[in-house]
Point group: C2
Chain length 194, copies 2
DNA sequence: TCCATCATGTAATCCGTTACATGATTAG
DNA sequence: CTAATCATGTAACGGATTACATGATGGA
């Protein structure tokens, strides 16, 4: 069971929408699934090769000489359905931001505030991006059977971004009354080098 | 630079609160940082060893024969400050749930609804847990300089859980009018086995 | 002609999980 | 005495990123 983990799922899924070259696949995963998924370059080719050997995808003439277009086969669609039905493998959480805030006493309040403001700004930007995306896709893909599903994933991004903004504000308030003793420079005190 | 990635940060951070054995460290990371961080077992011992060699932690007599308690040293605290100040390494997103919903046409509406209901229930449970946690810690650690920082991380969990609930409801509404053609069983149609 | 983009792949390496292997202490 | 918990480590494996290596095509 060469369960290439969930890479297989992402690749088959992307190809289930329309056939494309490995290169285009990579861009589709980055640009279309990018908000909630990522695949590294070096995974895509080997996975495609394995899927081809298993008969789940078919290699055809590509747009350039030496290039190939991959299309999902019936067995590939069945395999995808199977993979999507598997229980979700829980990704262990790893938030560098929360790790820093948790040890904020050591980091210093000032830097914590900076991190929070940055996070807030990032979230604000994502929020705008999700709104734009939702409008674009709703128009472009109007009537597509995929549309409602795609919209649920965009909605997830929107809600997360909104939550991040509200959280950042609350967290900034929580740190409001913390004494500004913070810049505990890494050497002895009263040393303004950095 | 054997940058044991961010494991080093988590280990030094945990030891910055109080000295403990490697075993206790593991439990602290699981139970205390667990909402936003995880370290696998096999990372902790080697990392502690490396930190000891660099003089960032000190090994002392442990509570049992053959066991050791580790304490952070001054250089360790400086190192922690350094690590915490580094730019946050963005973790590539990987949401198995959103991956499944995105390809929901293939998975089938029914299973998508089930996934959403599950996710909603999970979030509801976390929410209660975060509330309980916030109350417990506020009482237990009242007056601790770490308290406000810890509360910001709990607040993050709360907001995320709330967002997940609101999102699940919205997503369920989005899938409301999708025709229930869904169970595209992996064989021929008109087969009510499951 | 030359650069950006399209295109395909391999290899080295790192990070992290899991399984394995062992033993001391304490509570029931 | 015996099971649960505390305690420490190593080894094997698998998954993922990154760097390396190469080349075609088309537009400026």
């Amino acid at each position: 069971m060469a369960r290439r983990s969930q890479t297989e799922t992402a690749v088959l899924g992307a190809l289930s929408m329309h056939p494309m070259t490995a290169y285009a696949l990579r861009e589709a995963i980055r640009d279309v699934l990018g908000h909630f998924w990522s695949e590294s370059f070096g995974q895509i080719y080997p996975t495609l090769g394995a899927l081809e050997q298993q008969g789940h995808v078919e290699r055809r003439e590509g747009p350039r000489s030496g290039s190939s277009t991959f299309a999902i086969t019936d067995s590939g669609t069945a395999r995808l359905r199977e993979l999507l039905s598997e229980p979700i493998a829980a990704t262990p959480p790893r938030s560098g931001l929360l790790l820093r805030l948790f040890f904020g006493r050591t980091l210093g309040v000032r830097k914590c505030r900076e991190l929070l403001l940055e996070a807030r700004a990032d979230a604000e930007r994502s929020l705008a991006e999700y709104d734009r995306l939702a409008r674009t896709i709703s128009a472009e893909e109007a009537g597509s059977p995929d549309l409602p599903y795609v919209l649920t994933t965009i909605s997830a991004g929107r809600h997360n971004a909104e939550a991040a903004i509200a959280w950042a504000d609350e967290a900034l308030a929580l740190l409001e009354d913390v004494p500004g003793d913070d810049p505990p420079a890494d050497g002895p005190p009263a040393n303004g080098d950095s």
